[in-house]
Structures are given as C-alpha cells and as structure tokens.
Symmetry: C2
C-alpha cells in the first residue's frame, strides 16, 4: 500500500513468518514479556528475524492497543527561546529518555490552530507546559485522557498558582548580593508582557529581601532591550530619592541594555550603578564591563521535572514541593 515503489512496511506478522512462530510469540519476545517461558533458542530466532527484516513496531498501533503512548509533550512558551531554555529542553530529553519516555516539543507560540489540535494529534502520556497553563486548557487535556498535565510556572491544581520551579529565589539572591553594599535597589522589568510569568515572582523575591534588609521598596522600571530604551530608566534611578545605586535586571539581555545606557550617558558600572543579571548568556562575560549574573542549574530542574512526571505516570506518590535548583552568583565586574 505504501505507494509507488510498493515498499510495504514490515509488520510483526512478517517477523513471525520468518521465524516460524506465531505473532504472539514475536510480541512476547520483543517485549520481554515477564510471564511467558520462551526458550533462549526461540528468542534468538525471533530477534534475528526481526533484525534481518528491519522490523520496528508501528507506534500508532502499539499505543492504540496499549492505551497510552510513551511520549511526553513539552509546550514551549511564547517568549523568545534562548539558550537556557534550549539547554533545559536538551536535558529534559535526556532525563526522560532514561525512563523510556520520548520528549517532544511543540511551539505553542501563536497558536495558528488551537492548541487542542496538537495533543489531539498525539495523545501523549503527559504534557509539560514550559510556562503556565490555564485551568481550562489543563482540564480539557485531562478530559481527553492525558494522564499527567503539569506547568512549570503555574500549576493549576489548586486554583492558586503553585509553580514547579520557583522564580522568587532568583530575585532574592540578586537583591541579597546587592543589598550588602547598596541602600536602594532598582528593578529592570522586561518589555515583553508575556514574560510577566517569570518577571513578577522574580520581582517579588527582590521585594521580600528589601523588606527583610530594611531597605525601601525597589524602584521598578520597564526596560526595553534596545540601545536607547534603557536610558530613561537609568536617569530615573540616579535621580530618585534616595538614589538607586544597584539594579537587579530581569535577565542578562535587560542587564546588557542597562549597561549600554550607562555607557551612552558616560557613566560606569558598578561605580555609578551596579547591575546584576540572570542566566549567564554567552554575551554576559563579553560585555563592557563583564556582567555579574545569576546562574541556575538546569540539570537539576530537568531531573526534578522528569522524576515528577515519571512518578505520576507510575501512580506513585508524588512529591509536590517545588524544585529548587542551586543558584549561584557569578561575580564579574558589573556588581
């Protein structure tokens, strides 16, 4: 049936014929069925036949029968994919592969077609949203028979938003690093509304630590990532009363914009304004001056997420705590 060259797919029936056994036996051998006693000789015959014919079970048929596939679907957020997220995806792929699960990623960015179409066309065992998920979507997925639905930055399990990977500690660490020296902090908030999911909790972290250290509220400005955009914010920080002397940036891109603004005003970090970013993108070390930043351990996050998914699939008791990866201040020059 497969077209012009008549190359039909090789099925387990072909293998059975080749090995002179029944299809059932082929299936038992190839799946290492536990409760079947099949002598090594037969096993080998089957395996050799399968190899000779290049047999690979048809995913569709298998998961139709099994009632579940071993695919985990990752939903990419609507923000620019940079290297931290890229790395997380690679590490998640590895971590899940170790549990026989295949991690596939779909860009949910501008849903040309409703998100529905995607998992409808796939029926994965689990869905992991790399950002947040609305209750409606999550429920729709569960109703469609997807066993595990998780969102990194906002689980909907209990109405309240309970992220699997908390962002507050990042802001907190930034603020703590600066708070030792600086008496008034600023926050450089991202331009892109969608990033609020990340930015709000980070800012909250900064706020908490300011309160804790007895500092005034952080002075928050939105900083567009373009050469001139940050100038306004920098002026405002310096003119504030009391003046801001240290700025926590939402991420390294925003931090770089602040550094650029400082340069264009003839000022210098950290002397006139200290700046700390998040992520350690490649350009951070190359900036003028080299950017101090927070690095997180995506490997730990990946493993944590993978474990939670696997446990839930296995019906095991799942640890509901957020995943806290070790954070580290990478001290360079800017702060």
């Amino acid at each position: 049936m497969t077209g012009r060259f008549g190359r039909r797919r090789v099925t387990s029936a072909d293998v059975a014929r080749e090995a002179k056994v029944s299809r059932a036996t082929v299936s038992y051998v190839l799946n290492d069925a536990a409760h079947q006693k099949i002598p090594e000789a037969t096993r080998q015959r089957v395996r050799e036949a399968a190899a000779r014919l290049g047999y690979a079970p048809l995913a569709a048929a298998r998961s139709l029968r099994r009632g579940r596939s071993d695919i985990v679907l990752g939903l990419l957020p609507d923000w620019p994919i940079e290297h931290v997220l890229g790395r997380l995806v690679q590490q998640l792929t590895d971590a899940l592969a170790q549990h026989e699960l295949t991690f596939l990623v779909h860009s949910a960015a501008h849903p040309a077609r409703p998100l529905l179409e995607v998992w409808k066309a796939l029926t994965p065992a689990a869905v992991l949203a790399l950002d947040a998920l609305s209750e409606v979507e999550a429920d729709a997925m569960r109703a469609a028979g997807i066993e595990v639905v998780m969102a990194v930055h906002g689980s909907v399990r209990d109405g309240l938003r309970s992220p699997l990977v908390p962002e507050e500690p990042i802001g907190a660490l930034q603020a703590r690093h600066l708070g030792h020296v600086h008496r008034r902090l600023g926050y450089a908030y991202p331009d892109l509304a969608r990033l609020g999911v990340l930015a709000r909790p980070r800012l909250d972290g900064v706020r908490k630590v300011c309160a804790e250290l007895g500092l005034p509220e952080p002075d928050v400005w939105t900083v567009p990532v373009d050469p001139d955009g940050a100038v306004e914010a920098v002026k405002a920080w310096l003119a504030a009363d009391p003046p801001v002397t240290g700025v926590c940036a939402f991420n390294d891109d925003v931090a770089l914009a602040v550094l650029a603004a400082l340069r264009s005003l003839g000022l210098r970090a950290p002397r006139d304004l200290a700046v700390i970013g998040v992520d350690d993108i490649r350009g951070a070390a190359l900036a003028q001056p080299p950017l101090t930043t927070i690095v997180r351990d995506t490997e730990v996050i990946a493993r944590g997420l993978a474990r939670r998914i696997v446990d839930t699939l296995d019906g095991a008791q799942v640890c509901a705590d957020p995943i806290q990866d070790p954070l580290r201040v990478l001290v360079r020059v800017s702060a």
Copy 2:
C-alpha cells in the same frame, strides 16, 4: 461519568449514539467526506453531539487506519539553541500548521538512546533534520516507512551534500561588505566542532568573494567565545602581512568575543579592526561598539521548508533548488 476509575475516553461510538447515527456517519461528517451526501440537519446533530461530549479523535487510531500521521518531526542540532533557531522553529510550526501538519521537535543532542527510538515511537509523516543527516540514518528512516526525510544543511539525496538552506551567501555578503574598504580579511571560526556544518560553507563564501575581488586568502583563526580567548586571534590578524583590517565572524557571539578582545587590547572597532557578525542577536545592538551584522529572513526559510515538505507529501513535483532567503547587512558601528 467522571468516576476516578471510570473516566473512559470519549469515542466516535459515543458520539454516534448521542446523535443517533452510526459511527460511519460520524466519521463522514467530522471529516467532511467529499463523496457522501449528508443533509445539513444530520451534520449539525453530529457536530453538536461531538462538541457536547468533547470528542476528539484518537490520534493513534486515526493514523493507524490512515497509514500516515500528520506529524512532522524536527530534529534539533547538537549545538546551542539560540534565538534564531528558536524563531525558525516557531515559524515552521506556523507554516506547517497552515497545511494541517503538526510540527514537533526532538532534541537529538546527545542521543541517550539511539535516534531510532524516536521515530520508532512516532512514525511521523516527515522528518526534517535542522542540521545534517547521515546517509545511514536517512535510509533507516525511509525503510521504516517515513515518506519524507530532509536535512536543512545536507541532504543525502545524491551522495553529495546539497543543503536546502545555503550558508555561503552569508559569508559572501560579509566579505562583500568589508571588501569594499578592506584589502585583507580575517575569518573568526567557531570553537565548537559541531558548528562546522554551518561554518565551513560560510567560510567558503568569504573565500570566493575574496578571490572574486582579487584579495588574498582570508586569514582564518578559531575564536573561543570567552573574554580572553579572542585576544590571540586579534593579535595574529593585526600582525599578519599584509595586516588584516576586517574580520568576518561566524556569528554574533564570536563577533562579540572579537570586540571584547579589541577592547582589552586598548584598540577600537572599526578603526583598528572592523568586525561583522551574523544573526543580530539581542546583544548585538548593545555591544561596545554596536555590532554590524547580517540578518536573514527566517520566515522565508520556514515557508520554503514547509512548502517542500508539503509538496513531497502530496507527491507533487518538488522544487529541488535551495531556499535563498533575502539577506541584509544591518550596518551599525563595528564595520
């Protein structure tokens, strides 16, 4: 029906019962079968029933029956995923969605388990490798019944490597931009061996234009993306005979490293050494000095790739020419 065990999946049989028709009719209505005359009244009844029950056809069953799924599998390359590739993925998703195809991405980075396991677990209609693909892998996929197998940076169709998206023009444009003013060019080659697939053709483009303009061979140095790494290369370029006065960098990250090296030597771009990058990453405009770079049109690439995939799936005659997206020199300060 929502008993904790009892949550069965809604099947087309349920819809049929609800609408008081047969399963076949449900299928005909929901798939807009062309050769069936079904009155609007019945159509509505079926559609309403489906909506009421929240019916979504099971992907596995559908593609088992149809003999093909509507999934296109993208294989991510083994190099760091930055925002250009991220954008390409998003645009490919959109472009393919317009043809009823679902684009899913798998990170092939460090194949914890053989790549085989992936398409075996999926049986996509097409596979698109975002980098290159070995003949062995491609053949294995075809043998497993995947109809379309393409590689962006190295199709294996005819032994010879014939990329779908050529990289030479990028190097060529860089060289042409610099070649007007500079009599000897350097090339900043990336540190990471895997990037050779991209870097070699780009360098070839530079070479060709140099020859064309009667300039000597470009002076190639490998430039690691770290603060000190590029210093060696910069010294070598300046000391060369005749001295290099303009450098084409593999991409913006490498270019930023060159700029950093210049600063640390107390030199300035473009006065002492002109630098041009590729990609226009966010940091490019914020660099010191702002980086001149090449921007490519990923939208055109995405649409071109999508068209080629769709045409091949439809069995139409496929345009075999590479996709040339419009390139643009974004002139800032560094060159």
